[in-house]
């Protein structure tokens, strides 16, 4: 052995010892940890360990195959603004299928498209996808708790594309290294075992066992939104502006995969950005400059790939429709909305 290699040996021994040390967590888990879950591995290992999941809901798949719809609507409650019956009448009197679930995000919408529309082999004239603001390029929107159950309904055992973008979002571009470390050391399990014990233990030390929960509930209330400084709330707006950076987010979203999938299966998608509720004095909702730029970039990106993008703001008549609660339109607006949308589609096709 050369003298240089011999000199490196003690260093290598120390390095190995340090790298091996966290393996002790595995022993600690086996000796004192909670029993290993018998649940299957999650289809989102980048975000969670094993978990009991809801089964995949195959019913919509069968329905699509049976009805062979002229159009499919995908989205959350925002998709409720279009009257599917009227839209069906306008599309050569063919049925319109709705893959709509309230409180879902782009992860759910993508899986619904992939696992239902593509998997069914149907070829509707249009697939309409409804979204708000930057939802389309934000895969984390309504993805984790408490929305996980809904995602289970549309997810198979493995969802590698979704897991990839979630990994990138949660752990940065090196998420595969994080994943590998987690698998070797089981640090995710150790964390979920130990961390929840720290807060109650400190609460018990602070106030005694009887008032422990009272203190933790009180703290949650004390840090509630209404107790924050206005600047802290302004910071939340700044986060929104970060989400509106299209160039920074597009490759960390499901949209490229989505478009690829649509092209490969000769499916036409129209992405529709809905108009938020009007202001108290009846004016159309305002948009930040960042969001305006985002919309412009999103439109250009989709149109360059043969997709259709429609912003409710494109047609001033949309702003005249009555709203109910939140960003939901009134029931009376559903039919006019379907007609305005279809008219807009005719213009686009010309």
């Amino acid at each position: 052995m050369s003298s240089r290699a011999a000199a490196a040996l003690p260093f290598a021994a120390v390095l190995l010892a340090i790298i091996a040390a966290p393996l002790a967590w595995r022993g600690a888990l086996a000796a004192w940890g909670p029993p290993e879950s018998t649940a299957p591995p999650s289809y989102l290992p980048a975000a969670e360990a094993r978990r009991e999941r809801e089964p995949f809901d195959a019913k919509p798949l069968q329905e699509l195959k049976t009805t062979d719809p002229g159009a499919v609507i995908i989205g959350d409650s925002m998709a409720g603004r279009v009257d599917p019956v009227r839209l069906g009448e306008l599309i050569d009197n063919r049925p319109v299928a709705t893959l709509v679930a309230p409180a879902t995000g782009s992860g759910w919408w993508y899986l619904a498209f992939k696992n239902y529309v593509v998997a069914s082999g149907v070829h509707p004239k249009w697939v309409f996808v409804f979204m708000r603001d930057t939802n389309l390029t934000d895969p984390m929107f309504r993805l984790l708790e408490p929305y996980r159950v809904k995602l289970d309904w549309v997810a198979h055992e493995f969802e590698p594309e979704l897991n990839d973008v979630v990994g990138q979002r949660m752990q940065g571009p090196w998420y595969r290294v994080h994943d590998a470390a987690q698998r070797v050391y089981r640090t995710d399990r150790v964390r979920t075992w130990l961390e929840p014990q720290l807060a109650p233990w400190l609460a018990r030390v602070s106030t005694g066992i009887r008032k422990r929960q009272q203190l933790l509930d009180g703290l949650n209330a004390a840090f509630g939104l209404e107790h924050l400084r206005p600047m802290a709330q302004a910071d939340l707006a700044a986060v929104d502006d970060q989400d509106a950076d299209f160039a920074a987010n597009i490759n960390r979203s499901l949209l490229p995969k989505w478009v690829e999938l649509a092209e490969a299966n000769h499916l036409r998608i129209c992405f529709i950005k809905i108009l938020r509720r009007p202001t108290a004095d009846g004016h159309p909702a305002a948009e930040s400059p960042a969001l305006r730029q985002y919309t412009k970039d999103l439109r250009a990106w989709l149109e360059a790939r043969g997709m259709v993008f429609f912003d409710d703001r494109d047609n001033p008549e949309m702003a005249k429709l009555p709203y109910a609660d939140g960003d939901h339109v009134d029931g009376a607006a559903m039919t006019p909305y379907a007609e305005l949308l279809w008219a807009q589609m005719q213009k686009i096709r010309k």
């Binding site: 000199a7 490196a8 003690p10 260093f11 120390v14 390095l15 010892a17 340090i18 790298i19 091996a20 040390a21 966290p22 002790a24 967590w25 940065g172 571009p173 090196w174 290294v177 470390a181 050391y185 640090t187 150790v190 964390r191 130990l194 961390e195 720290l198 400190l202 609460a203 030390v205 602070s206 106030t207 008032k211 203190l215 009180g218 703290l219 004390a222 840090f223 107790h227 924050l228 400084r229 600047m231 802290a232």
Partner: protein, 477 residues
């Protein structure tokens, strides 16, 4: 590029692997290129600034050597360019807002445009490092350099470029110029240092920072919650900055450089003067040598000494940021030091023996005073600051009391490794450590215990690192 990213780890591994295969001159080329890649990673336009300032100081140094009769003029140029750049990017908006407000107070409105640019990261650090060069050349204590590559490498040496330690030219430049040798024992010590740095940042600073951020986001926290938040911030800022310095020193050591130590257990200080011998040592010694002493130091009588201390600390506060709270923080520490000098004029080592028994009390007292200072430092809004300084404890508010205790304990638990490290470094490690000819520690008991500690730290780091990664605080200065 930030230290606590795997991108940096990969970058560093590539650099260090290539580096030790190159001859000395090529090593410096690699250091310069990699430092520019490191610095321009997010905003490449930052490179234009650092290059311009490097070129000016290099030229000014040479001119001072070539034209000694005009050296004052060239020093003036260096000061103008460096401080002008710093002033423009860091202080222009502060200046514009305050001038506008002052004129508005006398019913005179002059619209001054706000500057919409990102503050170049680390500008305060490399500006001061370069100034140490031109000031030393001016004083004749350092020879002007004739090799631009070496000088540029000294200015932008990536391990300490963004947040220090602010190295003196007399210490770092010769290391750039001399051939360097690799040593496995030193690399091993550097690895311990880097690991300890990551632990301080990701486990201690970021977890304590979450508590501090939550408290300082509240409109009106109670007395006990507020001070628990201040304590958490005190832990955060120390662990965060000390982490950066330790990682920088470790990374530099891998490249064959020795950087100065920036912290020596500042929360064990027994008084204001002691604190400043332990906190951000590279900056406080910079201000001592280039501001306090040139102002006259303690040579011209008691009152002038107090004035000099106070002025130095005001400037030091202003260096930290363009906001009045930093000036106030500097003034507060200046006042503490003046008062401590006034009431206890005896120097260290001349205290009577019985004072040693009071050391724990003095440490606690100084910790309380330091935390009052951290409130001034952390709270950038004057209205909230006033409210917080005037918030009295309400003993009938049981929730505030227990919530404050709970948050304090949370921050304290995360800070425990810092206190243990202080005891280890001050009392145990020196007894075990024996250094070899290269300066690396060679004794077996020390090595075994250090390896065990490093293993434990790594295991804890993987599990207890904060889910919310925060930027290094001193990046914004």
């Amino acid at each position: 590029m930030i230290f606590h990213s795997l991108t940096f780890v990969a970058f560093f591994l590539v650099v260090v692997t290539v580096y030790w295969r190159l001859p000395h001159r090529a090593q410096n080329v690699l250091l310069l290129v990699s430092s520019y890649v490191f610095y321009g990673w997010v905003h490449p336009w930052f490179l234009a600034l650092i290059f311009a300032s490097t070129a000016v100081d290099f030229w000014a140094g040479r001119q001072m050597a070539d034209h000694p009769s005009n050296k004052r003029r060239f020093l003036g140029l260096s000061l103008l360019v460096n401080l002008g750049m710093l002033g423009f990017f860091k202080y222009y908006n502060f200046f514009a807002v305050n001038v506008h407000a002052a004129l508005a107070a006398v019913h005179f409105s002059v619209p001054l445009p706000a500057l919409q640019v990102v503050l170049p990261v680390g500008i305060s650090f490399y500006t001061f490092q370069e100034l140490s060069y031109t000031l030393e050349v001016y004083k004749g204590r350092l020879d002007a350099r004739r090799d631009f590559l070496n000088f540029a490498t000294f200015v932008c040496f990536f391990p300490q470029l963004v947040a220090g330690p602010i190295e003196r030219a007399a210490h770092l430049l010769p290391q750039v110029e001399q051939p360097r040798t690799f040593s496995w024992p030193l690399a091993r010590d550097a690895m311990f240092l880097i690991l300890w740095g990551y632990f301080q940042k990701l486990v201690v600073a970021d977890n304590a920072g979450v508590i501090a951020n939550k408290v300082f986001a509240l409109k009106s926290p109670g007395f006990f919650m507020l001070w628990a938040g201040v304590f958490a911030f005190g832990i955060q800022i120390y662990a965060d900055f000390s982490a950066y310095s330790d990682i920088a020193r470790g990374v530099a050591r891998w490249l064959g450089f020795d950087l100065m130590r920036n912290f020596r257990h500042p929360y064990l200080a027994t008084g204001p003067a002691d604190f400043w011998r332990r906190w951000h040592i590279s900056l406080s010694s910079w201000f001592r040598d280039y501001v306090y002493i040139p102002l006259g130091g303690s040579r011209a009588g008691r009152l002038l000494e107090y004035r000099n201390i106070f002025a130095t600390f005001l400037l030091s506060g202003f260096w930290h940021g363009a906001n009045w709270n930093y000036v106030l923080w500097g003034a507060y520490h200046g006042a503490l030091l003046v008062v401590s000098r006034a009431v206890s004029p005896s120097r260290e080592g001349t205290h009577p023996r019985w004072m040693a028994a009071l050391t724990p009390l003095r440490i606690i007292g100084m910790l309380v005073l330091t935390n009052i200072g951290w409130l001034l430092f952390r709270e950038t809004d004057a209205n909230y600051l006033w409210r917080e300084l005037t918030t009295a404890p309400d003993i009938h508010n049981a929730f505030d009391r227990t919530a404050g205790l709970y948050l304090f304990l949370f921050a304290f638990i995360y800070s425990l490794p810092l206190w243990i490290n202080s005891i280890w470094e001050c009392h145990i490690s020196p007894r075990l450590a024996l250094r070899d000819a290269t300066g690396a520690i060679s004794s077996r008991p020390w090595l075994v215990s250090q390896t065990v500690i490093a293993g434990i730290l790594f295991a804890l780091l993987l599990v207890f690192h904060s889910q919310q990664s925060l930027d290094f605080i001193y990046f914004k200065f």
